[in-house]
Symmetry: none
Subunit: 198 residues, 4 copies
DNA sequence: TCCTAAGCGAGACGGTACGTCTTGTCTTCCA
DNA sequence: TGGAAGACAAGACGTACCGTCTCGCTTAGGA
């Protein structure tokens, strides 16, 4: 019925490994981290690592990220079509907040040395969410895919910049800026000051 | 005045190495490429590699990218402030065109298996160009950096998507779409077809 | 008084392990055999192995050899001192016969790929038997140990040769040859055909 | 013409490894010696070891033994047929002396833990030398091979015993004993004391 | 008949050595 | 003098066994 003892032990071991990895990520570049270092930190044998993650570091990272993104996925699923169409910045706010909460890991794949695959996975996931929202809207004057890619690229890159610069603004502020740029474009900014020069 | 024989030989050797690297990049992930493989391809000794690029692969990559981007840099330098402020899509068009010309390498950098470092280098370079343009404009209502990051992220991601999908539209079309989204935002698209019509 | 069921079960388990080992020894070098392989063959858990033979493979091997040599020991014990002193080849004959009966295992021990340990055990055991016989005889003009070692070395090596060559002669013939060489030495052979004829 | 410098370096490296191995053999069982220990002792990298001996420890041991046996082979080749037929113990003396000179290595393969292959190689080599001598003598009343095997087994085993017991007698004494047993057999010893009992 | 201790299977775990791979340095030789 | 060739140290990799341990299942023998 309930989980067997050994199952719990396995889960605990994996959690130890995940924790060790995230701890190390705060200290040095992911690429520079050694399997030995991870297992030392987790007080486990190196062989044990390969028992659980035969694919090496990358598999452990993927597992850590998966764990982390479960939360984001749940939140984004709760966005209604109305939220999306309104000027509210619900979606981007959620993403910025989630990034703030898990900023160490986000930094890994959004800035410099992260596994490319991961960046793409998040980007593709967000692109799919956005496309789904637009599709309900039946807009096809412009290829949905291009639109979604445009938005996602800007959003993800912005989050990367934000984290790399140690979050100089609040998630709310960043989200507002993004939403404004996204819905009205940069024209208002340029025009306003541009005119004054005339 | 004129180059010495040995200088020319040195240049030739470096070119051989750069060519070997770019050739290999088309075949496999940058990370998986070995110094030995590069020198084998270039018919050079491994020691020779370190003679010219003591910093390892990354230094050679930087050198290769520099070579490739020289052209883009020159073109972008020719953009005047007026071009930039106008609704014209000069900048993005140039980037899309350059991407089309070097699409094999770009694809590697920007899509799936490329080295993150490269994506970042391109992005950072573009961000600097854009910031420079805005700075002349003295706009600081919004942090310039955020603005530049926003634009660059969207642009680079869009190029990546475009190449991954085998350039289904012309560079001109892509550039127009980008410019429109960038200057007016997505609001017009959403509003037009929206049911609320308010 | 009588064995408990669990005792019988223990005996059965040990027998399974011994059988598995001897079966594997016929297939591959003893050194190359793994505890896991033994327990797989015996349909037992690896932990069970260590339950019965905490000393590892070597302990199991010792146990297997003991089992096999029990028969030989009994027979050799029946040799009287008179038999030994007479020209009869009782001892060597028994050994050759026992080797013939267990030729598969003997071959492994004594020829090519066998474990040295085993060869030594057999040799040391025989050396002890021989010494015991001589000791009753109180002969110490020559160190008993040297004598016993000399005989045993020759005997065991000869058996090894015999098995490696697929027993080209009968055990009786081999035993006679050995006994003749052993009691009279090679001089008769050399002298007879020698040119000197002195 | 002369050896290249790098050749000399390679030879030096291999010599260092051989020396390290023989040094370690004096301290612990061959099986228990680790490649790491050998290279530590030789002040070399582990990878370097595999560069020269891809087959691992055993290949290094074989190489060490080969070096050692070169001397024995030369000496034995100088034995004339007359020496062999005479009662002199030239052959066995040479072997005992060689064993004394190289007792550390001999101990490795003749006693307990040595590589079986080696024991067999020496034995087979000696058997061939002995057979060659007998063959000139045209004696075939008894299969030469059996005779040679008999002698070699006794000789090699005796040397093993001698070394294991820290050479309690001189090589000359051992050789005499062996020769006497070999040419006249054990009968004289047994008969002499046997008769006295009657 | 239950129930309780033992034998056992399963497999996680720490540890150690393995043989391989790549990196970067250095030295020697050749053109 | 630039480059080829390649020996070498260093150190991470992933694999393979080892011996130990803990966990439950099964099953027999005494209650």
């Amino acid at each position: 019925m309930s989980e067997r003892k050994s199952d719990r032990r396995v889960l605990r071991t994996r959690q130890l490994l995940r924790n060790a990895l995230t701890a190390l990520i705060l200290e040095k570049s992911y690429e520079a981290i050694t399997v030995q270092e991870i297992t030392d930190r987790a007080n486990l044998g190196r062989a044990t690592f390969y028992l659980h993650y035969p694919g090496g570091k990358d598999e452990l990272l993927a597992s850590s990220l998966e764990e982390m993104f479960d939360g984001l996925v749940k939140r984004l699923d709760s966005i209604t079509h109305e939220d999306f169409l309104s000027d509210s910045n619900t979606l981007s706010l959620m993403v910025f907040q989630h990034a703030a909460e898990n900023h160490e890991l986000y930094r890994v794949f959004l800035s410099g040395q992260g596994a490319v695959t991961m960046t793409r996975q998040i980007r593709d996931y967000l692109a799919r969410v956005i496309q789904k929202q637009f599709r309900q809207h039946k807009d096809d004057t412009l290829a949905l895919e291009i639109l979604a890619t445009y938005m996602t690229g800007a959003l993800v890159t912005l989050i990367g910049w934000w984290l790399e610069n140690n979050m100089p603004h609040s998630a709310e502020y960043m989200s507002q800026v993004f939403s404004r740029l996204n819905s009205q474009g940069i024209a208002p900014l340029v025009k306003n000051t541009g005119n004054s020069e005339t």
